[in-house]
Symmetry: C3
Subunit: 209 residues, 3 copies
């Protein structure tokens, strides 16, 4: 057989799954880091390895897109999905990096709470992303997207509560306020990105229905 | 008659008008809040209601886009316009939320000035957005876009002035600096978004000329 | 001859070169400013002039895009490229503006280091952008893109180092921390934008190969 008739498009789903698996790995690693209460060189390197693996998957998707005539859904949606998913591990990497650079030590129960919600959101998002392969899964994909949305709202409330608490408790330590405000806001950003990915997956689903 | 021949595209204009009306409502509410000098639960809820109404309009536009074969202008421009307009009420909501979370009380004349410019910008933008329905209005649309641009420059100067003043006046209160710096910068961001929307409306107009 | 058969597409390359030349001018000016250790009205005005010139080039590209049936590469890529290149001078302008507004004076060796890397990155990027005219230059374009990527990593490490140093050295001057943290982070953002432009140029090259 001279021509390869296996539809290349299936590779997109493999690569999206690789991306979301990296996001899960990043979320799990964040939970370990904030549960330990300190970031050492090894755990920093591990985080960077996860992020690079995610970057690779994103690049492969863009390459495949440039080479493919037929794609499983809109080229532009594929591009956005690859980019947004990449942002999940990127932003988690930023959080871990800031903890190290700002020399934040000790277990912060608010950060632990954020890490738990982030892990839950990313795992739920994985159900949606992996469900895209098969239109029969559209109900469970839709349910997962709703849940990711709900978790984003939970994250908004958490951010408001921890920021109010931070300004109240640390009013004599502005340096601490500067550090933790950024880290809390980045944590909430991860949930925003998960919501954006869920919206994108939802709209791809609608177009195919 | 079995088929519905009424062009669906007109609905897009209705929805864009709904969005810009929400942005006006948000701007008016911001003015009330900063004029009162405190945010209570009721005014926080009202702000969220306005934002949700805007979100709904944005979602309806995206849904309509997915279902429409013919659109009044480029699909991508419709998508961007819906997203950017949504960001106006979103960012105003963020400002009101931060005033509450950071427990900022008392009337701040700089914030009052920002709120006035924001209202003026959003109302001017509404002329541009509503004028898109009819190519005959292109002169007034273009004039409105120029004015929104001008107001963004006024906002830039105001932000520079109030930030310089903040760092000078509150050099012994870094916590206050952290809070107000963020709120002033978000205020200027609203004017940036209005300018982006005006650019988009302007370029849509040019393509149709 | 009634019709103009000269392909309009060549103008795009002229305008992209104008944009990247503005970015170089901005980077050189930043180096002068941080090397002097103070921003006066004249140098502020000069920076704004450079930024306006860049804005003009960006607007001309968008106008040309709206009027052109044939473009040298994807319309969307042209749009993104014009926007991202514009962001380089914009962000450098923000840095110079903040130095003035926050009244930062004195030579800061970390800022000098950032300005040097930024100039190197923008000059390297210019090789890539100018090389797009001719497919024969694809090797040097690709090399330049790799180098811009490398410089972004150098910038990441520099930012981490200077932020850690800032929090350590200025722990009793939170106001200074607030000011310099923003300026350092904006400096690193310039390198991020250069990397984004390099990616875009790289992917345009791949599509044409």
């Amino acid at each position: 057989m001279i021509f390869n008739f296996i539809p290349k498009e299936f590779n997109f789903f493999d690569l999206f799954e690789k991306q979301i698996d990296c996001a899960i790995e990043a979320a799990v690693h964040l939970k370990v880091v904030v549960g330990t209460g300190s970031v050492d060189e090894e755990s920093l390197r591990k985080m960077q390895d996860i992020e690079h693996k995610g970057d690779e998957a994103a690049h492969l998707i863009i390459d495949l897109l440039d080479k493919s005539f037929i794609t499983p859904f809109d080229r532009e949606d594929i591009h956005s999905l690859a980019k947004e998913m990449d942002d999940i591990a990127d932003t988690i990497n930023t959080i871990v990096n800031r903890l190290k650079v700002y020399n934040v030590t000790g277990i912060d129960k608010n950060l632990v709470e954020f890490a738990n919600i982030i892990e839950e959101s990313v795992r739920t998002l994985a159900i949606a992303v992996k469900g895209m392969r098969n239109i029969k899964h559209s109900k469970s994909v839709a349910d997962a997207c709703v849940e990711v949305n709900r978790l984003e709202n939970v994250g908004d409330d958490l951010r408001d509560r921890v920021l109010a608490e931070l300004f109240e408790k640390e009013k004599n330590d502005p340096i601490k306020v500067i550090k933790m405000k950024e880290i809390y806001q980045d944590s909430e950003t991860v949930l925003d990105i998960c919501e954006d990915v869920a919206h994108l997956v939802g709209s791809i689903l609608v177009k195919q229905a």
